[in-house]
Symmetry: C2
Subunit: 201 residues, 2 copies
């Protein structure tokens, strides 16, 4: 895909904006600091993103795209059901362990910062997280249809617990730097699967 000069500049700005959000949160993503880090003028930045809110929105959209590419798509490419769930967990762990951001995942920063701030940005973050929840629910339904999980499996309950495992992992790995975080997350996931698996015929 060939990008125009304007598109290339915009992509460079967006990368730096993602890094800054990862370190300082959406609140810390100011046009002034970003211009300084990019050695650009503020008016140059404004030419690409008309306001702080548009820049924040673009950062969140890009982070959602990255998460979809890195975590969700590889999972959905697996055979339906349990293999999709297994891959999803592994990619989610890899997402948190990776170094694509200098700090926290911008979507997690946004989830905490925006939970009490009604408006279009919050709506966007909620809808992105809801889309992910619906993907999880869909995969669990597929696993039931494929006979990988028993008929008593509650997809919403299982989706809730998957999110809990991922958030627990992020906490123990990124903040606590605990070397066992991955082992705990995988053991919790295995137990969750065991709970709903059909007894072997």
């Amino acid at each position: 895909m060939v990008m125009s000069k304007g598109e290339r500049t915009k992509a460079v700005i967006l990368d730096e904006a993602l890094a800054l959000t990862s370190l300082e949160g959406l609140n810390g993503l100011t046009i002034g600091i970003l211009a300084e880090r990019l050695n650009m003028s503020k008016s140059g930045l404004f030419a690409h993103f008309g306001s702080k809110e548009m820049l924040q929105q673009a950062v969140l959209e890009r982070a959602v795209e990255m998460f979809a590419d890195f975590v969700v798509r590889p999972a959905l490419e697996q055979p339906r059901g349990r293999p999709q769930l297994d891959m999803l967990l592994e990619r989610w762990i890899a997402w948190d362990m990776g170094d694509r951001f200098p700090g926290a995942c911008p979507l997690q920063c946004a989830a905490i910062e925006l939970d009490d701030k009604p408006g279009p940005l919050r709506d966007y973050v909620v809808s992105a997280h809801e889309r992910l929840r619906q993907v999880l629910i869909g995969i669990v339904r597929a696993a039931k249809e494929e006979g990988h999980l028993g008929p008593a499996t509650d997809p919403e309950q299982l989706a809730f617990e998957l999110v809990g495992i991922a958030y627990g992992f992020t906490h123990m790995h990124r903040l606590m730097c605990h070397p066992d975080a991955g082992r705990w997350a995988r053991a919790a996931f295995a137990a969750l699967m065991d709970r709903y698996e059909l007894p072997p015929r």
Copy 2:
């Protein structure tokens, strides 16, 4: 307990600082904005808290104290073992559902903001979360000794999963405003207990 005028002023400042951190994060807790909200001079504020870092530290210490009073202490006051675990979950849910802060729990803001910022503040937050983890581990050990949970119970694994349930709940309740968040959290906890419970004699 009788407070001096200086102590009372300090307590008022701290309350407002907690509210501001809850809304804007530790990054957003600036002496300037706080002075404005309190209708005080910046120098008046500095007389009580010598620097932004000292104010941030005081905010975190107060939030830890509040969590200990509201969640941990009532749990530890229960009979040893399983009743302590049950109470801990209920109080943790109540902590997140309460309105003591206008926004997110300052400790959760700090966990995300500081994970990539080495220094004394991060060290303090890590040590507070580690103390909580050790309390959880201690309660699970007591539940094993009391025969509420089987000998195969891994206290560190269970502590990890409890944290995951609490974080999953916060996400689904505070950001997603999902009315089933509490039901999911309680069902996840019940399944976790079932997994380790001794079979009835």
